[in-house]
């Protein structure tokens, strides 16, 4: 099994041992020069680290866990990876085959528990299957629309001897077609729509990044001259400051991209799946527009939004074909509409958020100050909540694979372990985790992983002393009935110190820039807690049940 991992180019494994996976760990002992095993503190941390690794490196994340509780601790991460299309191969130990179904110690039916949250899973009870099954696992995890795969290996198979005849990578499964065939007539129809459009609008998602199609995408956008906006998982595929990048879509996205979705005449959706956080109320979403939808997953086409032209296929292949057929344009007048909305949003929201003259610190100004130090070069890993939306809105990203966040599942506790994995996947880059006071307490045990590996990540806790995002909804929609959102926290700097991680807590504006600089310049990991104003709200906002055009600025 370990030889197979090496043959697949695996260098890093995130895992946690236990009874049912001990034979694998015993073998791993002799492979520590070839395979870097990171001992996490909780299997959920392990799988989120695997996700972070996969997202920055573009490779398959590999995770080990034992049977029973080890395996069930993976479930949140599997669901997260499934909905965010993250390639993972998870290997779980299982009780001896003859004990299956007997309620043996630490037996759980992992295959059935994980079926809804995996792209594929398989139980191995005979060691001779291992090479082939692992080859399939890696192929399935990374091909087509990527996703998590789980392989459950019974203990008897782990200790069984058999004659290993070498490893052959899998490149074809009869019943599995990862890429739909590209249909030239659809490309033609799409190009015609685009060439005749008066107010075309591009919305892109993570598909561009997963398909390594950033260059192809940029060429398409630049030739077309069409304004382009991103979903949070698509962020960074082209730089934040690219003149055709008009900002973020969705519930807390930018004003223009949301409003003008309902005014464009052709909507070109690329590698995105019309999540309800992006579309708002679906029956009032872009009804006036003809929709061109590029996606590798046929099940996404017409799932939420009916397409006029479905462009099935890998966007790395379809985008250049489309680019070749479109006419170069500038759409100056149409861009002015975006500029106009952008100015309105700046005046009503952004200016005050990023440049408060007095009062308590805001989350936005922390991100703004951080941008000045990272210059947009860092990997930003965010948790879930207000700080996530603020970070995604305001962080400058010059590079692809720079925004690591839990988009589809919204998993609090994701950021700290994902940042650890992200660093292992991109060791030469700065990795900064931005986390809420609530979410940090969900997986803070992974500070132990940081301590033991000596890895260098920077942690910023934006502490508003609230489960802020829930509080915001309670303020706006439940008449300020703050039901169980007032959360008490320990002294985070002292907690970090206990794990030998230096840190600081700031609450004064005068100290912020210096503290951020100190954090960035410190060797090794560092935790900076920033006390921010307690009851700030993230705006703009598309309230649930409203159309994107009904986005509120306050």
């Amino acid at each position: 099994m370990l030889d197979a991992l090496i043959a697949e180019g695996v260098d890093t494994i995130f895992g946690y041992p236990g009874g049912a996976i001990m034979p694998i760990y015993d073998a791993l002992f002799d492979y520590s020069d070839k395979l870097n095993h990171i001992l996490v503190r909780h299997e959920q941390g392990g799988i989120h680290a695997g996700q972070g690794y996969a997202r920055t490196s573009g490779k398959v994340g590999v995770v080990f866990a034992t049977s029973g509780p080890g395996a069930t601790n993976l479930v949140t991460g599997l669901a997260d990876a499934q909905i965010d299309s993250t390639p993972l191969v998870c290997i779980t130990g299982q009780v001896f085959a003859h004990l299956l179904g007997t309620d043996a110690f630490q037996e759980t039916d992992v295959i059935n528990i994980t079926t809804p949250v995996t792209k594929w899973n398989y139980q191995v009870t005979d060691a001779t299957e291992i090479p082939e099954v692992l080859a399939k696992a890696f192929y399935i995890a990374k091909s087509g629309r990527p996703g998590p795969v789980l392989i459950d290996i019974t203990k008897n198979a782990q200790i069984q001897k058999f004659s290993y005849e070498g490893y052959t990578k899998c490149d074809h499964i009869r019943s599995y077609r990862p890429k739909p065939i590209v249909r030239p007539q659809y490309i033609q129809q799409a190009a015609e729509l685009i060439n005749n459009a008066k107010r075309p609008f591009i919305i892109w998602g993570q598909g561009v990044i997963l398909g390594s199609a950033e260059d192809e995408f940029k060429a398409f956008v630049e030739k077309s001259g069409i304004p382009a906006a991103w979903t949070i998982l698509g962020a960074g595929a082209i730089p934040t400051d690219h003149p055709l990048n008009v900002g973020m879509l969705g519930m807390h996205g930018n004003y223009g991209p949301n409003v003008l979705t309902n005014e464009c005449d052709v909507l070109i959706a690329i590698g995105m799946r019309f999540d309800d956080r992006v579309t708002g109320r679906l029956d009032k979403y872009a009804k006036q527009a003809k929709v061109v939808h590029l996606d590798i997953d046929p099940a996404e086409i017409d799932k939420n939004v009916k397409s006029t032209v479905p462009v099935w296929g890998d966007c790395k292949e379809t985008l250049p074909l489309l680019t070749a057929l479109i006419e170069p344009k500038t759409h100056t007048k149409w861009h002015e509409r975006f500029d106009d909305y952008s100015q309105q949003e700046y005046d009503a929201v952004i200016h005050a958020e990023l440049n408060p003259a007095s009062g308590e610190l805001t989350m936005g100004e922390v991100i703004k100050q951080l941008n000045e130090l990272t210059k947009g070069e860092a990997v930003i890993v965010t948790d879930v909540g207000q700080h996530q939306m603020v970070a995604c809105r305001y962080a400058i990203l010059n590079k692809t694979r720079s925004n690591i966040t839990s988009g589809g599942l919204g998993t609090m506790g994701f950021a700290l372990p994902a940042a650890i994995g992200a660093k292992f996947g991109a060791q030469e880059r700065d990795v900064i985790a931005i986390i809420g006071d609530g979410g940090f307490q969900m997986t803070l045990q992974e500070l132990g992983t940081i301590m033991q590996t000596g890895i260098d990540i920077k942690i910023i806790i934006l502490n508003n002393k609230f489960l802020g995002m829930v509080r915001q909804w309670q303020e706006l929609f439940n008449e300020r009935r703050y039901s169980f959102v007032d959360i008490e926290s320990p002294d985070f700097v002292a907690v970090a110190a206990a794990y030998k991680i230096p840190g600081k807590c700031v609450s004064d504006r005068a100290d912020l820039a210096g503290a951020l600089k100190e954090m960035m310049e410190s060797k090794g990991s560092y935790l900076l807690e920033v006390m921010v104003t307690k009851e700030n709200n993230v705006f703009p906002m598309v309230p649930q049940g409203c159309s994107v055009a009904e986005i509120r600025l306050k």
Partner: protein, 196 residues
Amino acid sequence: MEKQEYNITVYTENQIGLLSRIAIIFTRRKINIESLNTSPSEIDSIHRFNIVISESEDVVRKLCRQIEKQVEVLKVYFHTNEDVIWQELALYKVSTDVIAEKVSVERLLRENGARVVVIRKDYTVFETTGHREETDTLISILQPYGLIEFVRSARVAIIKDSDGFNSKIREFERLEPGEEVIENEYLNQGQKVFTM
């Protein structure tokens, strides 16, 4: 869109766990599976599922795409009842004494297209195939005579307008998927044959 019965035909590899992978696509959306049959197909190592649900065409199309997306599923079709020939098989156990004494067995068999599977001293088993109403009819006829046990199979359905799967399977075995296999031009035209 209006709900009606759809017959979903799924060709799959013979793989443990695939049944639940397919079943949860329905249960996740709280859709009741009205009938489900799975059995080896005419092609070695390929299984065929026949699933019956009542839903709108739009929902059925989405479900079929989700099913076809599963790694071990080769192909999915969906059809209305008009587009398939379908049958269910039913078995009825009655007391041989009662039957011999009180019923004109020949008439019963003739009128209901039934046949006798076994006759034992203590019981007799009849069999019919047909649509739900037809197999129901024989229940009500036999009930007064002390029907001991009844069982009905899931629906099996043959697609009227199909060339069979044999030719397709060769396409699947080639490394690059061939044009016919994809057939996605049907997709947005509400065609009877849905494939991708």
